[in-house]
């Protein structure tokens, strides 16, 4: 019997111990902020519903920053964001009607508007920031700091007489193959670069290492001394110590990409507007309209747009203009 009782003690000890370790292990669940939000619904915050956003990976970090701030204030609104590229978002998600917003790093194309129209989706164009598209080379690249628009065009233009070596562009540059990194065809970044540098009449070459993931572009350029790539400024600003940004000469001397040069309009032709396109009919729902307003309202915020994401915020005049566009669209949505 004595043996049994000692077993009993150890068992009790063990159960207490196991319970305590379980308590430590699971205690985190009770601190989950989402839990309290779901139960106290509708007291002081009437907004609720869900919003889906698709589109440009360039605008993605900005959209996410806005989503985070918005959800802090309206915890019953749930917002999900897909990063699909501007064109991919329009074609596969926004125009078929599965998302309420589509972000784009270039203006919507005519074909896309008519594709949307088939499904009764009317896009409303809102400019949300300005980006400085950045051309990057390897840190150890000591032969080039600046390129003219024409040189960039020679490198990136498709066709028969393709430039393959650095020396093909400038005879002072080394006789080494240029290794090119850039976005994929679904990307608005590529569309914009195509239009601004290569020109719409010419083809953008497609034999570069293409990735929708900007990290891969940075990584690729970091790896090889003779690499060249381009991407949005936000991702470059996170990786300034890994790659070197080239200045661009548009005929008025060399201009390095930065928030200042993009804002003042000196960094040409690669500074570009970024957009989000809400679906007009969705704006009749309060939570969608409020989120769109919130975004435009905060598009001038230096803290969110410039510091945490890395784009140029709107100025007051631009904000007013976008707000007017939005409010007209909301009225139309409610009127119909």
């Amino acid at each position: 019997m004595s043996g049994k009782s000692s077993n009993g003690v150890s068992r009790r000890k063990f159960i207490v111990g196991a319970g305590a370790s379980g308590a430590i292990a699971i205690a985190g669940c009770t601190k989950n902020p989402a839990a309290s939000g779901s139960e106290g619904s509708g007291d002081d915050d009437a907004l609720s519903g869900s919003i889906s956003i698709s589109g440009s990976s360039t605008v993605f970090p900005l959209a996410q920053a806005m989503q985070e701030k918005f959800v802090e204030e309206h915890e019953n609104v749930s917002i999900d964001i897909k990063s699909t590229g501007s064109g991919g978002g329009f074609a596969n998600h926004f125009c078929p009607g599965t998302t309420e917003f589509n972000n784009a790093s270039r203006p919507i194309k005519k074909e896309e508007i008519s594709a949307c129209k088939k499904n009764n989706v009317v896009p409303v164009e809102l400019k949300v920031a300005t980006d400085a598209l950045t051309v990057v080379v390897n840190k150890n690249n000591d032969f080039v700091d600046c390129m003219t628009v024409d040189q960039l065009k020679q490198i990136w233009q498709g066709g028969n007489d393709k430039v393959t070596k650095w020396s093909d562009v400038n005879s002072e540059w080394p006789d080494e193959k240029i290794i090119l990194y850039g976005p994929t065809e679904a990307s608005g970044t590529l569309d914009y670069f195509h239009e601004a540098i290569v020109g719409e009449d010419n083809e953008h070459r497609m034999d570069h290492q293409a990735s929708e993931t900007d990290r891969n572009i940075i990584g690729g350029v970091e790896e090889s001394k003779y690499a060249l790539g381009y991407l949005g400024f936000a991702y470059y600003s996170e990786a300034k110590n890994k790659v070197k940004a080239l200045g661009v000469d548009n005929g008025n001397g060399c201009v390095k990409p930065s928030l200042e040069t993009a804002k003042s309009g000196k960094y040409k032709p690669l500074s570009r507007p970024l957009f989000t396109y809400p679906k007009q009919s969705a704006l009749s729902e309060d939570h969608v309209a409020e989120f769109a307003k919130f975004w435009i309202e905060n598009a001038t915020s230096k803290e969110i747009v410039a510091n945490s994401v890395g784009y140029v915020p709107l100025d007051e005049a631009e904000k007013k203009e976008q707000m007017n566009t939005l409010e007209t669209a909301i009225e139309k949505a409610n009127g119909n």
């Binding site: 068992r11 000890k13 159960i15 370790s21 379980g22 308590a23 699971i26 985190g28 897909k82 900007d214």
Partner: protein
Amino acid sequence: MATDTGGYESTKQFSRVSRTTGTIFKYALLAATLFGIVALGVLLLYVANDAIQPLTADPGWYLVFFTTFVLPTVAVAWYLNRTDERSLSTGVTALGVPLVGTIFAAGISTVFIDVVYPLMWFAYFAAFAVPVVFAVGLSRSDFDIPFLGWLGIIILTFAASFALVPYGILRLLYVPTNGMSMALTFGSVAALAARSYVGKRWDGKRTGDIAAGIVLLVTMLSPFVGAIVGIGAVPAPILTTIALVPVGLYVASTMAHRPEYVIGLALPVIVVVGVLLGAFLVDVFSFAGPHSWLDWAFVTGDSSGEAANAGLYPAIVGSVLLMFVVALVSFPVGIGAAVYLEEYAPDNKLTRIITINVSNLAGVPSVVYGLLAAGVFVTYLGPGIPVLPPAIANPFGLSPIYVAGNLFGSGTIIVGGLALSLLILPIIIISSQEAVRGVPDDMRQASYGMGATKWQTVKNVVLPRAFPGILTGTILGLGRAVGETAPLIMIGAAAIAPVPRTFESVVAAMPMQIYVWAGDFATDEFFNRVVPAGVIVLLIAMLAMNSVAIALRNRFQREG
């Protein structure tokens, strides 16, 4: 010609057989075995180092835990292993059951904290339980009812129960609190399980009833304890029934039936006491632990664009919901197909073609299943299930009717779960087929010999015997599904998704979240800290599932 490299010629000369070839072959095989394991081990160490950053801890912290936890544990384990290996395995089981149970309990708790309202759950549980109790009572009574009549009565009671009971419960003046709802539902199931477990092992109905009573009582008390201790009233009954009750039963059964291995139970005691003592001492001496990225803020936080605030919680809830859908769809379909193919299907060309195709389907890349799901579910069923499709409705001047439209939207949990179900269905069918095939034919013949019908043989002989094997295969299949990313990308899962509240919500899942963190977020902190931390959580979830499968298989082999 003499040769010393072995082979055919050397066998002619007995004195000169060389073992060199054989030795080289043996070590080549060893290298092949180790290659994958070592490579994976190095990778995991690398990832764990990034996620946990062990070098940032105070040396004192390590010293404390080494003396209170590592040293005693190793010493006890070594001693147990020396005296009797089975005591050690008893100890490891008693340690592993609550650990794995806690992980599962945490996963299930997320569902009841964020998705299913406990009272609603209680209402539907009651609606399900009432007709089940009625059916059991009916089958034990002496009424002689033909099968079809019996079926009709059961269907009617189910329908009536689901129409009336939830409605009644949700409008009662007195309703159980959230914690009580959980305790009543989980407690009653656990009590029944304990009753049958104890009843089998202790001979005697009374012991079983007492055990059931204790389990129910402990579970009913747990919400109050949980609320005081800080676990929370809702998770406490779940933790009690999934982690504590099984280990309690295991310990009790060890003490009663295998007293020679009771000493093995010292292992979990030493581990728990060591950890608690270590934590206490570290706190007293204020030694800082490692600045681990993998902490509770990470596991319970929402997703964020800033690495420091990024959390995995929505993805964890999403993965749990996905697994629920996958289990619900793939288990019945997969096991049903396997049992049909093995037990009922005639051995003809068609059956063989089906079997071969199932094997081939198991090898189809997961992207393809994602595309299939995107094509069938999102594109075709996106507007809803066509009850009256336009092709039929329009000629008659009627308007088409669709139901359940929201369920099949782009990237919903349902669509994600169906895609993953399709992916693992062939695996489940094949492993279940093998389990069914593993049942010796003698047992079937014996059953027929006693006059049993085919249905009775399958129900009473084949399925119980094959069940552990089936379960092993299906859990391994689930483990595969929980780690899949490609199908989720194809169906339009989001990069950032809020905690999913319903099955219509846009899917969030652990592997998807890790993929997005690695790609769409540029900073080094995301790639070198957040991603490894996410990988560790995903691996823990997977290992927990696989350990259940392995435990089941071991049990199965011992009994078989």
